[in-house]
Symmetry: C2
């Protein structure tokens, strides 16, 4: 028995894995593996349609939004978002973590080739992103293409729970690490994107949810980066990551069986609260996040405040079955990623282990 | 028992699927599914390194070539190739099939934004791509960035067996449908790319093999499209399609166990010869490909020359377990895709079925 605290790819629901295993060589009596199904056939058509339908239901996605299943991860969206939405306009970025900075950096790079103006609304990099950027809506030109935010900072362990005032400018959200884990209102966004490998399914699939009025008919430099073309082809402009979409569909069904996104969010808040309460109750462990109301429900960095002790913790934890608990090198210490499929018992077991480690090492 | 003639995604080796099934919930005693492994951990590092090593061995890839495992399919390479290689130069395209045309069309689209000159060396579209384009090396400016060819035309059923004279200009090959199925010499190419979903593994992974001297340090508009950045990060610039790479590794091992690429090519030539010989022996079935020496070893279109009979054939074949044998709508009729994992017995069974169908319908 192990508990997998990886930040992504990460733990998946056992129910989904067991179903995939059972039908891996023969999907629904077809005599073929899901991996062998043509993406234009009736079996896969049913899978992708069911996946979209279930995700729409789970996230209450309105009809005037497209749901796309793409490739390339959030990193590809860093380019696709401005390429499709920002040409000739201003685009604002909030840099509250490493991925927010990457999104902005990629936009700046693109702006060397395509005319638009990426603008940073602030960065907390000099404080190692230990809190979220605050900005005033009056700083935002109301003609801008969008304001881009990272909803959960996977590396630094912060979450935006209340969406910012953008002065009426469309909001674009990188929801990679808390999609289906926190109950955001899709209507508040013009575009949402998320890599699958945390709360959705295996790595290699990206969900994009985009409001129809953002799909312009301007030419985009690559068909594979053109939301309009991808939407028109219902994510089948080229061969999609079929197995990833199938696994995601199994996970969507699992989330539904768990009571939906609101129920998942409640469970996640309980899981993270258990760990935060323990961290707050002792001087031995510290959270690098300075504002309690910004602490992530999905990624919880902590440290003994001492590299030698942290290394010892990580090594002993690994041997005890607490896998991938080492923090990102830019933050150091430990990180417990508690995505949807991570069980409550795993957090209880971790807290017990932390207590024991504290007793043995608080000299 | 079914035989899956799909053009991609398509049949995979049973041995690879069985191994994946056996260890789907516990990879190598890790207590985790391959899908749950972090891409930075020791287990996945071993998988991706082994996959690269085995592919290098199978294709005899020299040390001065990078091997990249990417996302986005061949369609994304249609943009990445000129973006990385052609800026400020001429780039030639050979349009002997639908995908060759797509590659050229995407290059033309990109050239509206990035300065380079895509030039067609000819097209056989007006003859429904029933033969390969012939061109003279003297047409090619020796300063050009590259000549792009599609090695196997999946839809139309032709293959380039002898590589063209390019007047010393680097050759770029889309090898999506015959990588590992025909024994090309990698040294003859400057860059090779291939979507995985035919001879490598599940859809959602793309192999790119690129010679080091083609990686310039010019800025590319997106990091995710920059071969140099992707190579520098050993395909881990962002989260790669981990499960797809794992499955590909299992397939590479299987190809090795079959005797390698030369042995696969021999088997493929035998499989396709059996079907071509039968088609040639009767007036009832026709191949749309006019030159016998250009007929594909992977994708074999054929027809009864009559839509009513073709539809009847497809329907009866499907009921008899010959799946996905309907031809592409642009060619019509039937298509038997006989990739590496397709068994010889399946071709024998198909020929038997075709004989029976002919007897019953040759009125």
């Amino acid at each position: 028995m192990v508990y997998n605290f990886a930040a992504g790819p990460s733990v998946l629901p056992q129910e989904a894995l067991l179903k995939a295993q059972a039908e891996l060589l023969d999907y629904a009596g077809s005599g073929m593996s899901v991996m062998e199904l043509t993406h234009r056939g009736k079996e896969f058509t049913a899978i992708i349609e069911h996946a979209e339908e279930t995700l729409r239901e789970l996230m209450h996605i309105p009809d005037n939004y497209q749901v796309l299943f793409l490739q390339g991860g959030a990193s590809t969206q860093f380019t696709m978002v401005p390429l499709n939405l920002a040409v000739g306009k201003k685009a604002y970025y909030v840099e509250s973590g490493s991925f927010g900075k990457k999104a902005f950096t990629e936009a700046v790079k693109l702006s060397h080739f395509i005319p638009f103006e990426p603008i940073s609304l602030g960065s907390t990099e000099s404080q190692n992103y230990n809190h979220l950027v605050q900005f005033d809506a009056s700083e935002i030109d109301s003609d801008a293409a969008y304001v881009h935010v990272t909803l959960n900072n996977t590396i630094e362990g912060t979450t935006i729970y209340e969406l910012p005032d953008t002065n009426g400018v469309p909001l674009v959200g990188d929801m990679s690490s808390d999609i289906l884990a926190f109950d955001y209102e899709v209507e508040k966004f013009a575009l949402i994107y998320a890599g699958a490998q945390k709360n959705i399914g295996p790595a290699g699939m990206t969900v994009v949810i985009v409001r129809n009025d953002l799909l312009t008919d301007k030419e985009i430099l690559s068909s594979m980066m053109d939301y309009r073309i991808l939407a028109k082809n219902h994510s089948l402009y080229n061969t999609p990551p079929t197995f990833g979409i199938y696994m995601s569909d199994l996970v969507f069904e699992w989330v539904k069986a768990q009571g939906g996104v609101k129920a998942m969010a409640e469970k996640n808040l309980k899981k993270s609260a258990l760990l935060y309460e323990y961290i707050d109750s002792t001087e031995f462990y510290k959270s690098p996040v300075i504002n309690k109301n910004e602490r992530s429900l999905c990624n919880i960095p902590f440290s003994c405040g001492d590299k030698v002790k942290d290394d010892k913790f990580i090594e002993q934890a690994d041997r005890a079955g607490f896998k991938n608990i080492k923090g990102h090198r830019s933050v150091g210490g430990m990180r417990a990623s508690l995505y949807n499929a991570f069980p409550f018992e795993g957090v209880e077991a971790l807290v017990d282990f932390m207590k024991k480690f504290e007793e043995e090492n608080d000299l």
